[in-house]
């Protein structure tokens, strides 16, 4: 009896293995993965926005001001930087040229600086 039951179960199991689900129609498959990827990208953007919205109000309110301060300080530092040609301590000729001097005055100034440098080096 048991043997008969198990053989019948085996028979049904084999029959069930042949079962197929209705094939997916073509219009359902169309652009499927593209749509999924678009939804993923949209959800990434959304998750950044919701992360930002979940920040405290004072941070969100202060953000534009903070970014302006940071940007302003950056430019100030840049202006004062030794690599800035406007502030370079390099050749005196550059400084002299900025002082709106005539060529002779500039040469005079250069000489003075050279003498001063020499004196400094000697003593």
């Amino acid at each position: 009896m048991n043997k008969n039951n198990s053989s019948q179960e085996k028979f049904f199991e084999n029959e069930l293995r042949k079962i197929r689900i209705q094939p997916v129609p073509e219009f359902i498959k169309k652009d499927f993965s593209k749509d999924v990827m678009n939804q993923i990208h949209a959800s990434k953007r959304k998750s950044f926005i919701s992360w930002w919205n979940s920040r405290p109000v004072f941070i969100r309110a202060a953000a534009p001001l903070l970014s302006t301060i940071v940007l302003f300080s950056f430019f100030v530092v840049l202006q004062k930087s030794p690599t800035n040609p406007m502030q370079a301590s390099g050749p005196t000729r550059d400084i002299a040229s900025q002082l709106d001097m005539s060529l002779e005055e500039q040469l005079l100034l250069l000489e003075e600086f050279d003498i001063e440098n020499e004196l400094n080096q000697t003593f």
Binding site: Q8, E9, F11, F12, E13, E15, L16, R17, K18, I19, R20, I21, Q22, P23, V24, P25, I28, K29, F32, S33, D35, V36, M37, Q39, I40, S43
Partner: protein
């Protein structure tokens, strides 16, 4: 199509490689996974939702959800097991939230007529398959899902238990009950073999 063990392990390795790429932020790899599972996912959700449009929308949501949770995939099971688990939960959620009323008349299964058989043999097969198909249709959705996961998707009992979050014993018992019910239905409708 018959599967060899080598083919299956090759497929698992390729899948693992794709998952690793996705974890590194490669979206193209995920698109490949989506294409690989598209049909099976739509068919699985179709068994629950009995409508291809709903099945398509649900499948897309499932893939988005899986992408967002892929960091939680511990590689303790097959990727497909993990993915189907999300799918089953999503479908059950949809049914619960929307209180969907599904038409039980929709036949989610299809006949399998074989071209290699003679017309007479084929017609016999069709009659038998039709009977089996209508019998399976009369099973509960849970029993149908177990049959689909076990026999159509070729999962082991353990894998079906993991996907449905049920014990192995429950899966065995439900399968056995489903088969008894099928026997009863088929013998009532008169088929010699049962």
């Amino acid at each position: 199509m018959p599967y060899s063990l080598g083919m299956v392990s090759e497929q698992i390795n390729a899948e693992e490689a794709l998952v690793s790429l996705v974890l590194q932020g490669n979206d193209e790899a995920y698109e490949k996974i989506v294409n690989q599972y598209r049909d099976k996912m739509i068919q699985l959700t179709y068994v629950y939702l009995k409508n291809f449009e709903d099945a398509r929308d649900a499948s897309q949501d499932i893939f988005v959800k899986a992408y967002q949770k892929i960091g939680q995939f511990r590689k303790q099971s097959k990727f497909s097991t993990w993915l189907y688990r999300i799918a089953v939960n999503h479908c059950l959620d949809l049914i619960r939230k929307n209180k969907m009323k599904f038409s039980t008349n929709v036949c989610v299964f299809e006949n399998i007529a074989t071209n290699e058989l003679s017309p007479a043999q084929n017609s016999d097969l069709l009659v038998r398959d039709d009977l089996l198909k209508s019998a399976v249709q009369q099973l509960s959705t849970q029993q149908q899902i177990i049959i689909v996961l076990r026999y159509f998707e070729n999962n082991s009992i353990n894998e079906v238990a993991t996907i449905l979050k049920l014990s192995v014993g429950t899966i065995k018992a439900t399968t056995s009950q489903a088969i008894q019910k099928l026997k009863k239905i088929i013998s009532k409708e008169g088929v010699g073999e049962a």
